[in-house]
Symmetry: C2
Subunit: 430 residues, 2 copies
Amino acid sequence: MNPKEPGRRRFLKNSAVLAGLAVGAMQPANAQSPPEEGSGAGAKDAHAYGQRSRFETSVRYGAMGLYDTAPPGWHRDFGLRTPIQDSVGIITPASLHFYIAHGYEPPDIDPSEHKLLIHGMVDKPLILSMDDLKRLPSVTRVHFLECNANGAPAGPTGQFRDVPTATAQDTHGYTSCSMWTGVPLSILLEKAGVQADAKWIIGEGSEKGKHTKSIPIEKAMEDVLVAYGQNGEALRPQQGYPIRLLVPGWEGINNVKWLRRIKLVKEPYMGMWESTKYPSLRSDGLSRWFQFEMGPRTVITRPSGGQKLPGPGFYEISGLAWSGGGVVRKIEVSTDNGKTWKEAEVQSPVTPKAHVRFGFGWEWNGEETILQSRCTDERGDQQPTVAELAKFWKVEPEFFKITGTIPGHFNAIQPWKINRDGGVENAISF
Amino acid sequence: MNPKEPGRRRFLKNSAVLAGLAVGAMQPANAQSPPEEGSGAGAKDAHAYGQRSRFETSVRYGAMGLYDTAPPGWHRDFGLRTPIQDSVGIITPASLHFYIAHGYEPPDIDPSEHKLLIHGMVDKPLILSMDDLKRLPSVTRVHFLECNANGAPAGPTGQFRDVPTATAQDTHGYTSCSMWTGVPLSILLEKAGVQADAKWIIGEGSEKGKHTKSIPIEKAMEDVLVAYGQNGEALRPQQGYPIRLLVPGWEGINNVKWLRRIKLVKEPYMGMWESTKYPSLRSDGLSRWFQFEMGPRTVITRPSGGQKLPGPGFYEISGLAWSGGGVVRKIEVSTDNGKTWKEAEVQSPVTPKAHVRFGFGWEWNGEETILQSRCTDERGDQQPTVAELAKFWKVEPEFFKITGTIPGHFNAIQPWKINRDGGVENAISF
């Protein structure tokens, strides 16, 4: 979208980062102490299936099932959050993909035993094995998955009370992006023969809770996948092994994991989750049901909350943008708390309903300031400020903090404050 | 490139795969035994950093350092081969990326101590820490890496004697593809100020052998990266942690891992590997030196050697195509041993010097046949047959089998024979 040149010229012209590094009397290259060999990465298991460096400590946190990987004092949450502040590029490693399954551990499914049933209002019900699925035409597409609660403000009450909001992992760790491979659901539905009155599909998982989700037939025929691959290998158990629904751009809850059944029906099921936690409470006491699409959103991942700039000079501001509405068309960054905005550079493949990496060359003068980012998608929808979002919901901004329900679909602009000492803090206010 | 529709229509029209699956009296969905919970994937470690299913057994094989993960009787090779026959999409998981380091285990580098020195014929030598590098403008790009020996025929003599050639992992397991993130080397070189007489860069690694490689300055300025990210996280130790050179489209040996030094020089160094194993022996007894670019190539991964088709009916033939010459423009498949060729469908993002996934809908009639694939890149270069490749090298085809040296850059069309019982065999001949 944008040429690389502007940022590059900015860097070459202004850069202070290398100023102290030009060396007169150089350290000889061989003065570096020889690295130790035979580390963990050289172990035999790591030869069959490689591991990361022992110096890499970026991990998910949260709570699932029996275990709590959250920092001390953290609210017992439903899921594991992606360390998005450490991300590079647009792909989330499967090992770090966020994980929410409403408290359930992944079932231990043997793929040779697994079957997918497609039935209900169809002419010819189907039962498909994994081998059957893998013989069919497949596609590979980059798509983000985002929980509708991603970035829900932490108020004094409600589900997200006491959730910290210091880092990008806290505030935006419920989005991830993968290269998914699978069979277009439309192919299976056409083969089964969808009857004229069938207006919804109900996807059902294999986990203990048997999660079900109602999805309109139009979306099912448009771009939904029965996915068996993620980032070049089989889905991971926490991502639905051996198959899941992949419903591009829509709330994470639609993407039914450990998929075992698709039923064609006339009316939605009003399943437990879609009729309780996932609607949004309105200010008049009623609820919005079946909100599917995730709005346009960005987050600056570097620098972001909890990080520290070593001193003034050149920094590339780096972040992610995405929209359930399609392709991200424009990404802007403000380095003066929203007074002025400049277009950022897009640094990676740009595909619809996927994370897009942006960069913005910035010369920090050492003064306190606030960084912000926003995007606009192919429909012209622009990521809102907190005030704009409150107006859309017809509430006062304070309302976001005092309920645990409405903050779903909270896609407001995220401001990060840079302190004089280089420390970075969350500067959102309501 | 190609619309998905033809393959899809072919499937919907001809498919026999689902014929036996249409059910009258269906198995009730809840008749499936409930899956066991609390598996390995639910363990606490797997919450911080996820793991794959215990049912997934796709692994690399080969030999490195102290360990041998090769099947019994396998020649002790230098590296670990990617299980390309199990791949989906275009990305190779970092855990399964092929690994060759001429016998050396990865050094155990602490990134906070690591430095990159850029010196030699420059105006201003630089020493960069990892933190310095991460402040600079970065890009993310999809590129394959391929060893020049990938698919080298196994003759009775030479380095590749006794290497099996039954599976796609045997024959094509020395290519992998990742989404790499790093700083364009051109930015660093411009900052250092390259002097007019500097015509080559020498990259040097940190491993015990201190691998060095000479690369022309034109390439260094064109698209080479100093990469620190792979598939969304830090490079793995086996891939050069914390930094490597990424030299798109060129022989793997150029992509210096554990990079610690770049020297600007007037003439190439004629380092050990570039002057011994990596030149190609010619039929007149002389050698070709400095062969950089990998040629256009494809391999059908499914069905491929060692796999078995369960019976006649519809199959999507799936495979990978790539070229060091740029974008893959056309991919063709033959299901009649090369008598006729039809264009395949491209199923994934198509970017230059990257793996591209192709699919081809095929109705197998149960008769013996041979499947082949070939591609043409943006320059019009087409993947050759064995006979065409022999002509190019001015040798008889038998010559490929009797030397361990010339088979580098062996990119001939790979034929897979389908037997009547559905078994798949390597059908290459010289």
